[in-house]
């Protein structure tokens, strides 16, 4: 299929890049990307991927927009308070770029639905907060063999890396299992600089566009850490762990497991057991 006159103009700053060109822009138009979480990270990811003309964007989030979200979740506006995040985001994307098809899932990602949803997309982006979700996404991306762009943020710091399942280090290679409830504070408890979410989310969007285009060097086997207070970046090399319970030599995780309760919310009763 050929570009319309309008598309040639809309994507002209991409097409003029020798690494992208008309061919690359077509790849972007045919790409299917799933964003898990339409929040602080998901907002800039969704907006930039929509602007770039990613053909199909899936959004999964069960929440409705809350006033306290607006400090960083820039795809949602004041008038969206109380509305489902996936619908609010879908409207903004449609207004930004009608070329994009949005598939909204107003539900939580779970052990039951993860593989089915992941199999409809080519790339997965983790924009979630709680650790059971991050482990579930890591495991499901591994079993579905889908490249995953992982990221986390807290206070003034963020970290991001790309996982090519079976070929590069996975989340469990570094963190074998979720932290016990209450040990790690959430953004809700500890706070987060809104613009930091935008920055890390934009990096995630950049990394997935590189994968789609097949250009550059993916952010695999290294974690990029960003400290906003000091304006410092550090790259920490990581490796596949032969003892990884998911992608190691003798994996003990054979299927997606039902995760325990979200640890992001401090539950005094459960932290007593740990």
């Amino acid at each position: 299929m050929a570009f319309t006159e309008e598309q040639l103009v809309r994507y002209s700053r991409h097409i003029i890049l020798t690494e992208v060109g008309g061919k690359g822009q077509k790849k972007i138009g045919q790409a299917k990307v799933l964003i898990v979480g339409a929040g602080g990270l998901g907002s800039p990811i969704a907006l930039y991927l929509a602007a770039a003309g990613v053909g199909t964007i899936g959004l999964i989030d069960a929440d409705v927009v809350d006033l306290s979200n607006l400090q960083r979740q820039i795809i949602h506006h004041t008038s969206d308070i109380g509305r489902p995040k996936v619908l609010s985001a879908q409207e903004k994307i449609a207004a930004l770029n009608p070329d994009v098809q949005v598939l909204p899932y107003q539900e939580n990602l779970s052990a039951e639905n993860a593989l089915r949803i992941f199999s409809d997309f080519e790339y997965i982006i983790d924009g979630t907060d709680n650790f059971p979700a991050k482990f579930l996404i890591n495991d499901a991306a591994y079993f579905a063999k889908r490249p995953l762009i992982h990221a986390g943020i807290l206070r003034f710091e963020g970290q991001i890396f790309t996982i090519l399942p079976g070929a590069s280090a996975c989340y469990r290679c570094i963190f074998p299992e979720p932290p016990p409830a209450g040990v790690v504070p959430s953004c809700q408890e500890a706070g987060v600089l809104g613009a930091l979410a935008g920055f890390i989310g934009t990096l995630q969007g950049t990394e997935v566009l590189k994968l789609i285009l097949g250009i550059g060097k993916p952010l695999t086997d290294r974690i990029l850490k960003y400290d906003a207070l000091r304006t410092q970046f550090r790259e920490v090399p990581i490796r596949r762990n032969p003892d990884c319970s998911l992608c190691g030599m003798h994996p003990t995780i054979q299927t997606i497991e039902v995760q325990e309760q979200p640890v992001c919310e401090i539950d005094p009763a459960s932290s007593l057991h740990t």
Binding site: G37, A38, G39, G40, L41, G42, D61, A62, D63, D66, N69, Q73, K85, N108, D126, G127, T128, D129, N130, F131, A133, K134, A151, G152, I153, L154, E157, G158, Q159, C173, I174, F175, P176, P179, P180, V183, V184, S186, C187, Q188, V192, A197, I200, G201, I223, R234, V236, P237, I238, R239, N241, D243, P262, C264, E265, T274
Partner: protein
């Protein structure tokens, strides 16, 4: 001895990784520890000796993104 912790030169007294975490007030369950670009198993932190010039990296759990209420 002198080691590099998260990219910064530091003078430390501790001789194993678990003691270093304790001295820094870091709960071992909330961090992954790398020594000279190799991940150290949590169960062997106590038995992992620190050597002069080691590069030690603490990788913390980070959530972020969208909150589940």
């Amino acid at each position: 001895m002198r080691v590099k912790i998260n990219g910064k030169q530091e003078e430390i007294q501790e001789t194993n990784l678990l003691d270093l975490l304790k001295a820094k007030n870091i709960e071992p369950r909330m961090v992954a520890v790398e020594q000279n670009a190799k991940m150290v198993d949590r169960s062997s932190l106590m038995n992992t000796r620190i050597h002069e010039g080691d590069e030690i990296e603490f990788l913390f759990f980070m959530g972020g993104g969208s909150e589940t209420e």
